[in-house]
Symmetry: C2
Subunit: 164 residues, 2 copies
């Protein structure tokens, strides 16, 4: 039931489905259809998906896989170091492969997420370390603000509807 979806060109940390699954086997975890599907979706996509989106994509191939299983699988994959998540505005989380780390900027108005270079917060991290002895987890949160198009539309007036 696997029509070989991901071509998986380059080698590396967890650039192939089997590579990621090996990380699970290594921890004594079992490899199941559901887990294989979740991994392959993450590899095939841009690596920036919500749990719901992962579930939808997985169910395209494996209709039986339940959303809660996706959550549990993502959790396991995170513990295995294969994926990590970012918290977005409304309690929603986004998952990305750890071998493709980047920072996220989220537009507060339209919800659009822009992917940024991973180093944008480097200087800030250094400062927090020095001044507050706080070790920043730079990729774990989004940078909120407004994208160009939303600023063009609403000008300076803060939108009050739609989101919070």
């Amino acid at each position: 039931m696997e029509p070989a979806p991901a071509p998986a060109p380059a080698p590396g940390p967890a650039t192939t489905v089997e590579g990621a699954l090996d990380a699970l086997r290594h921890r004594g975890e079992r490899v199941t259809t559901a887990r294989r599907a979740v991994v392959s979706v993450l590899l095939a996509g841009d690596g920036d998906l919500s749990a719901e989106e992962v579930a939808a994509a997985v169910q395209r191939h494996e209709p039986g896989v339940h959303l809660s299983t996706v959550y549990r699988t993502l959790e396991v994959l995170e513990e295995a170091g294969v994926v990590s998540h970012v918290h977005l505005g409304h309690g929603r989380a986004l998952y990305q492969l750890t071998d493709d780390p980047h920072q996220h900027a989220e537009c507060d108005l339209c919800g659009q997420v822009i992917e940024l270079e991973p180093d944008v917060l480097e200087a800030v991290a250094a400062r927090l370390r020095a001044e507050h002895d706080f070790e920043l987890d730079t990729r774990h949160f989004p940078l909120l603000g407004r994208c160009a198009s939303c600023r063009a539309v609403s000008g300076g007036a803060p939108h009050r509807h739609g989101r919070r």
Copy 2:
């Protein structure tokens, strides 16, 4: 344990209950017992409270005030420019008076929130503006990471208690 609610005598932008309420009157909003109570709680506290905490504090004086009213009042106060909120890790939000703006660093392990100088993200904001035409709303999100004490205790091993 709240023996002294702090009288808050100093003048300023919205440093007094009446000052904040004036901002509401100015917009044609009505001033009610509930709203007065919410404002006074925000002024009395450190200005860094969740909606639930605000409600709890309000209900100490005005037991009838409902949590949903607190949410609505905070929303109105935000529109009036008196308060603003930050999103914390788990979809929870924290409210602060706008006349005391600061950045927040939240420990991912113990949940402790450290208040930082408001300018820590200035350079990042400039860069996003220049490179992505993205206007960062610097105080609207927390900087997640690990505080010194949690790093000392857990070393490198990630704590996995409580919420994710």
